[in-house]
């Protein structure tokens, strides 16, 4: 080693020996440089003042995305056509269709529905929870489809779901004491302490004023969109004050009709998705 030539570099007594590199390594290096130049010519590479060189191959990542999206749409065309031409029960019975519809429905739900119903479809006061087994307008596939498609109290749609409860307090139908008694009766129906008034008197008023729509036992009536009152789920709050407020001057939720906006195929997918959340009938 000691006779071997050095490059002349020396640091702290350590000398750099000159072991010539085989020339093919050098050529490999030049080749990679050439490749790099070719790459810069073939692909977008050099930034200019307002853009960049386009490259001879005409490649762009945006174009690649468009191609990918077009390919995906192409791949999905057939299954979407099958969803469009099948009825809801058929879609639900076909594992492939159901899986596709539920996944597509979930995506559409996040875009169009989650603003009111929440990303997990749990709703909030005035916006129904879609995971539970309580349905104001019915929880079968057809009923859910109709609700989504025509909306609820959407004045622009002739087929919309519509119901209106009288404002028993503000319209002067019941006195404040009567409302307290009715509320006591409703609390008793749900197995709770009737703390607001006389449940017996309230029961009489209920039979007279409320049972027509909500049913004698508080079981509700879906054809009229009258919610069940004997269960544990209260759209506008379950505490006595909330119940009394709703009897006195009821709130009425509105949902737009989605059929015309999204098209029936998307509404079908939304229906399958909502139905799959755990409460579908």
């Amino acid at each position: 080693m000691s006779e071997q030539e050095t490059t002349g570099h020396e640091w702290d007594g350590i000398r750099e020996l000159n072991t010539p590199l085989p020339r093919w390594w050098l050529w490999t290096f030049y080749l990679t440089v050439l490749w790099g130049i070719g790459y810069c010519i073939a692909y977008p590479a050099i930034p200019l003042v307002t853009g960049n060189t386009a490259g001879l191959l005409g490649y762009s990542s945006r174009g690649e995305l468009e191609q990918t999206m077009a390919r995906v749409a192409d791949e999905r065309r057939e299954i979407i056509e099958r969803i469009a031409s099948s009825d809801l029960a058929t879609i639900r019975g076909d594992e492939e269709l159901a899986q596709f519809a539920i996944a597509g429905g979930a995506a559409a739900f996040r875009v169009h529905c989650s603003q009111c119903h929440g990303s997990g479809a749990v709703g909030s006061a005035g916006y129904p929870n879609l995971n539970d087994d309580d349905w104001i307008w019915g929880g079968s596939l057809e009923e859910i489809h109709q609700t989504i498609s025509a909306g609820v109290r959407d004045e622009a749609n002739d087929d919309t779901r519509f119901s209106e409860m009288p404002a028993f307090g503000t319209d002067g139908i019941l006195e404040a004491a009567d409302i307290r008694d009715v509320t006591a009766h409703l609390l008793a129906l749900g197995g709770r302490e009737p703390v607001t008034g006389d449940a017996g008197l309230g029961g009489e008023i209920y039979a007279e004023q409320c049972a027509v729509c909500h049913g004698e036992g508080g079981e509700g009536m879906r054809d009229l969109g009258a919610p069940a009152l004997a269960d544990a789920i209260w759209l506008y709050g379950s505490d006595p004050d909330s119940i009394m407020a709703q009897v006195r001057q009821p709130s009425h939720g509105v949902m737009p009709a989605w059929g015309a906006r999204l098209g029936d195929t998307v509404v079908k997918q939304l229906t399958l998705y909502v139905h799959s959340l755990g409460g579908g009938e």
């Binding site: 030539e5 490059t7 002349g8 570099h9 000159n18 010539p20 590199l21 085989p22 020339r23 093919w24 390594w25 050098l26 929440g118 990303s119 997990g120 479809a121 749990v122 929870n129 995971n131 539970d132 087994d133 309580d134 069940a228 269960d231 544990a232 789920i233 209260w234 379950s238 799959s276 755990g278 409460g279 579908g280």
Partner: protein
């Protein structure tokens, strides 16, 4: 303060001295000569065994029943499974592979600290394939001298024919090398048929093409350049040697001073070493080095120079081992023995009167292999192996994974009960289909319902789990209002297989608003 006319002296030298030699040099072709001997025979055997393992393994069959592949060794990338005879590894059991890699690393330390770069010299695919390619080259172009002549000769029909035949066979071997590789990743017999019909996946053909190119270029064209300029092993392995590691060494304590005309020189000018300077060791070296220059990182310790030199020693009637596997400590002891008071090597000091080696010469002893360092490596290696075997023998073949719904955490139902949703994953890692019953432990009153199913919730659910597959199911746990715990209760899902009673448990949490709310 210098006077006019007197130059100032600087204590400095130019960083860039004049370079005498070039920074790049054309490659000098190496034409290793054929050699016969014990190590060459050993290398033939290792070559045969390693090549046989490589080509035959994918074709071995191993019966695993009708539901999974019967290929003994299969890396099923599409289905994320690794089969190795009686072992099947799922992706989440990949730590076995990590363990094997650690064992391979420690095994390399062990081998290197005892016998030096034995991996490089005997078992490395680069070495094995270069050896194979050299056999072909020798067949078509002759041994070293003929090849040197052919190299220098102008192009002729003869040269073209020999060269063409050699490269054609090299390419065939390269194709076979790439072709064998892909059979590890798919059912070999079926893939072979598809391959011939042109119906195999494009990636198979692409893999063959890439491996053909690398085998041909690395094994046929680049050869020793791979080891010297591309491979990181020589640097790493060099750092793992110590003074008790065996390396291929030229024993200059008995070889020097070397001389070409042994007998005459001995009479003429005093003592001569055993080296007759015949350069046989240089002629056979596939790395193109002279082992007599001492340890060099280019040396892959293939030991062919030992065979060559032993042949020469035998012919001139000297004991073999002028070039031998020796440890640095033995070498140093022998060197001390050979050097006279003036520091010059006197080969007479290491010779016995009968012409053999003196008694004081240290020879290789197997005891040197058993030293704390190697025993430590072997111990760690065995310990990892035993732990892995233990884990393998007792590992689960049924696993349960549970993911609680994040949104919503819980749902209140009309009867006041609370429902939680869970995604259940049952891993049936046996190769037979199994019936599995899912139950709940530690949550009194809880009932189960499969998502999408009609009917009342029940205390247990039964699934059929496909063989060697993951079963995913969405299940709901219902808890009546009266049984509600606090806002948050831990419990266990249990999955029990009907066939052998194997039970998998998984902790889960039931979320609720609490008994008194709403």
């Amino acid at each position: 303060m210098t006077q006019a006319g007197e130059p100032e002296l600087h204590d400095v030298s130019a960083v860039e001295h004049h370079r005498k030699g070039p920074l790049y040099a054309p490659r000098t072709r190496i034409h290793p000569k054929r050699v016969r001997g014990a190590f060459r025979r050993l290398k033939w055997w290792i070559m045969a065994v390693t090549l046989a393992i490589y080509y035959v393994t994918p074709w071995l069959r191993w019966d695993r029943g009708p539901h999974v592949s019967d290929q003994a060794v299969l890396i099923d990338l599409a289905n994320r499974r690794f089969f190795f005879f009686f072992i099947e590894i799922w992706p989440h059991e990949f730590y076995y592979v990590a363990g094997l890699l650690i064992m391979a690393g420690i095994g390399l330390f062990l081998v290197t600290s005892t016998v030096g770069r034995a991996w490089c010299g005997y078992a490395c695919p680069q070495t094995v394939w270069v050896d194979l390619f050299l056999v072909i080259e020798r067949y078509f172009e002759g041994d070293r001298n003929a090849r040197v002549r052919l190299d220098a000769a102008p192009w002729s029909a003869n040269k073209l024919r020999r060269r063409g035949a050699k490269h054609a066979v090299w390419l065939l071997i390269a194709v076979a090398t790439g072709g064998a590789w892909i059979f590890y990743f798919a059912d070999a017999p079926r893939l072979a048929v598809d391959l011939v019909r042109g119906e195999a996946p494009g990636i198979a053909y692409a893999t063959i093409a890439v491996l053909t190119a690398t085998t041909y270029v690395l094994g046929g064209l680049l050869r020793e350049q791979v080891c010297i300029y591309m491979c990181p092993w020589p640097r790493i392995q060099g750092a793992m040697l110590d003074e008790n590691s065996l390396t291929v060494s030229y024993n200059d304590w008995r070889g020097e001073p070397r001389g070409r005309h042994l007998r005459r020189s001995q009479e003429d000018d005093g003592p001569r070493g055993d080296c007759v300077d015949c350069n046989a060791c240089v002629a056979v070296c596939p790395m193109g080095i002279d082992i007599r220059d001492g340890q060099q990182f280019e040396c892959i310790t293939c030991a062919l120079c030992i065979d060559a030199c032993n042949g020469v020693m035998e012919r001139i009637g000297r004991p073999g081992g002028l070039i031998s596997y020796a440890t640095l400590s033995d070498y140093n002891a022998n060197m001390a023995l050979a050097c006279g008071p003036d520091g010059e090597i006197d080969p007479g000091r290491t010779r016995a009167p009968d012409g053999g080696l003196a008694d004081g010469v240290r020879r290789f002893s197997w005891r040197i292999v058993l030293r704390p360092r190697t025993l430590g490596y072997a111990g760690v290696w065995c310990a990892i192996g035993i732990v892995m075997l233990g884990l393998l023998a007792t590992r689960d073949r049924l696993e349960l994974h549970v993911v609680h719904d994040r949104n919503p955490l819980f749902v209140r139902l009309t009867d006041g009960s609370i429902r939680n949703g869970y995604t259940i994953k049952v891993l049936n890692m046996q190769t037979e289909p199994r019936e599995v019953t899912l139950t709940i432990e530690g949550l009194p009153g809880a009932r189960l319902r499969l998502a999408g199913a009609t009917g009342e919730p029940s205390p247990s659910l039964t699934f059929s789990a496909a063989p060697d597959a993951l079963k995913t199911a969405k299940v709901y746990v219902h808890l009546p209002r009266a049984d509600l715990p606090g806002s948050h209760a831990g419990f266990h899902f249990l999955a029990e297989a009907h066939d052998d009673g194997e039970v998998a448990a998984r902790e889960a949490v039931f979320e609720s608003p609490g008994r008194d709310s709403g």
